[in-house]
Symmetry: C2
Subunit: 336 residues, 2 copies
């Protein structure tokens, strides 16, 4: 079985976005009471949104299951207030639940969280519990920067986040560290903010004893670990200079990278430096890069092709395509 650990519902039916537009428009009028209207989205509309996109690519590229969450750029935790974020998040997660109900063999559900700048992360616990306990979700996306590019929250290793980590451990679900759209003009959402978020999180983990406090806490750092594998020597050297544990030891049971790296030399590097036990197959399709690479004739984000070319042993392939994901997302095992 081939599990793609990183897919977002980037093709959601248009009434979801219409709701969001109404919500954002209402923010301009402070007298408006935020509300959550029913979405006008039929099962057929959901099927249609997936059949020509994620499901088509699963079939064409040969993956079986996508660990599927709401569109990351759409989370927009910096927009409005806590209520704005809560109502929007519930809608997004409810829709992911419906996707999983319609295609129980193709999608494993992961939720977004109702984060909001300055709001304690503990306030996101109830939505996590609803999604995991009531709706069968297997993980969540955690935004290290709910401000959308102003980086005003404490580092992920700060005690601020601990109540939420306790719940992750308790539920035995991992979090993918994933920022959302940026409102800071210095950053491009998918071109620099995402990658910077990944790099930032990894360096925070190097500096902290977080995983001594939470030995079973598991994070997926997407986009191939940001800049980390390319600068593996820098990070090994920094850890060494700072008298921190070696990277492999720090990552072992706690930090995982996906394979959302859109060219062969990048994937080659990733597998050369990062232990295969810490790499999960991912493509982020349909996502950041949608075109076809003229140098290969294939989609940039068809990352399975790059991995197939590595010449991995059958055992290592099994880890990257399935085994590691089952270990990181143990609630998958019940469903798939």
């Amino acid at each position: 079985m081939i599990i793609d650990c990183h897919g977002h519902y980037t093709t959601a039916p248009k009434d979801l976005l219409a709701f969001r537009d109404e919500q954002i428009a209402a923010l301009k009028d402070p007298s408006t009471v935020p509300s959550k209207r029913a979405l006008k989205i039929t099962d057929d509309q959901i099927r249609e949104s997936l059949e020509g996109a994620q499901l088509k690519f699963q079939r064409e590229r040969g993956s079986d299951v996508t660990i599927f969450s709401p569109r990351a750029a759409g989370m927009g935790h910096h927009i409005g207030n806590e209520t704005t974020s809560r109502l929007w998040t519930e809608h997004c997660n409810d829709l992911i639940y419906r996707v999983g109900q319609l295609y129980p063999k193709n999608f494993a559900a992961v939720c977004q969280l109702p984060q909001s700048p300055g709001v304690p992360i503990a306030n996101s616990i109830s939505e996590l519990e609803r999604c995991v306990n009531e709706l069968g979700f297997i993980g969540c996306n955690l935004n290290p920067d709910p401000s959308g590019g102003n980086w005003t929250a404490p580092p992920l290793t700060d005690k601020h986040w601990y109540p939420f980590y306790e719940k992750l451990v308790d539920l035995d679900v991992p979090a993918m560290i994933h920022v959302s759209a940026t409102c800071n003009p210095n950053f491009h959402t998918t071109g620099s903010h995402y990658i910077n978020g990944d790099t930032t999180a990894f360096m925070q983990f190097i500096l902290s004893d977080l995983f001594k406090d939470f030995p079973t806490l598991r994070f997926i750092i997407p986009h191939g670990g940001g800049a980390v594998p390319y600068h593996w020597g820098r990070y090994r050297g920094l850890a060494q200079d700072l008298k921190r544990p070696p990277l492999n030891e720090m990552m072992r049971a706690n930090v995982f990278f996906d394979t959302c790296v859109y060219h062969q030399p990048g994937i080659d590097l990733l597998f050369k430096v990062v232990p295969v036990e810490n790499i999960l197959f991912g493509s982020e399709m349909v996502g950041a890069v949608r075109g076809i690479d003229p140098t290969t004739g294939h989609y940039y984000d068809d990352t399975k092709r790059y991995i197939d070319k590595l010449g991995l042993s059958a055992e290592d392939k099994q880890k990257v395509f399935e085994g590691n994901a089952r270990r990181v997302y143990p609630r998958m095992n019940k469903e798939f």
Copy 2:
């Protein structure tokens, strides 16, 4: 000749730091009038600070000239106000000038700028002119985030920066895009803030027609181009999706990466994807990573070793070690 394009005076004599400490302490008392006292630094102290460090490594590793600037983490543009930054910057640059006078064959001088959050970059022009016209400097370090990790300045492609770019073009000197220390606890100065700065700048360049406005403007993005070569497919794909020019075309005469990547697989990747015309040898010694890699027995930042192992042609070696630097820093040619 082997030119190392990236070295900072990280070993400066202690009275430089004493001045900075006094300056920062005085900020607490608003009645203090900022002043620039003479530094108590002798030529012998300068010699001593370099002989056991940068000069020793030049000899041991076989490089000839280091393009040398004040310590990047020390620039601290977010500290104090414009006057604070100006006085500190003048001291730092004056010291680099003295280094060049003492070792005219070993160091080519590059200046820091008296940037300050919210202050027009045009106010940095006079210090650039002083350094280039009066002191023989060959380039500068430009901080895209003078706020130190809050990213409050406009993108590098914004017209805000244009008056300074006009002067760079006029003087025919390049700028290395280099952030300084961060005061945002999310970021580690050398571990994430530096690399994020590099990645951020490159994505800004993809999105802009800056080099149509300034066809001879030249930027060095240090640390091997941040995350860019590892995600070369992502950036190629984003440029394509966004109908922007191909990366090689955008970079050609305007954007250059150094080789401050501290392991062989990273350097291998860099040379596999980035045109050799756009790569300048750099080590950042003595800098971010000071230890010896136990897997090789050599210093992490002895980047010449990795390049020597690439099997480049003599012509390509000449470009990376000398020719590209002379093209990017034409004022070098008069001195070395």
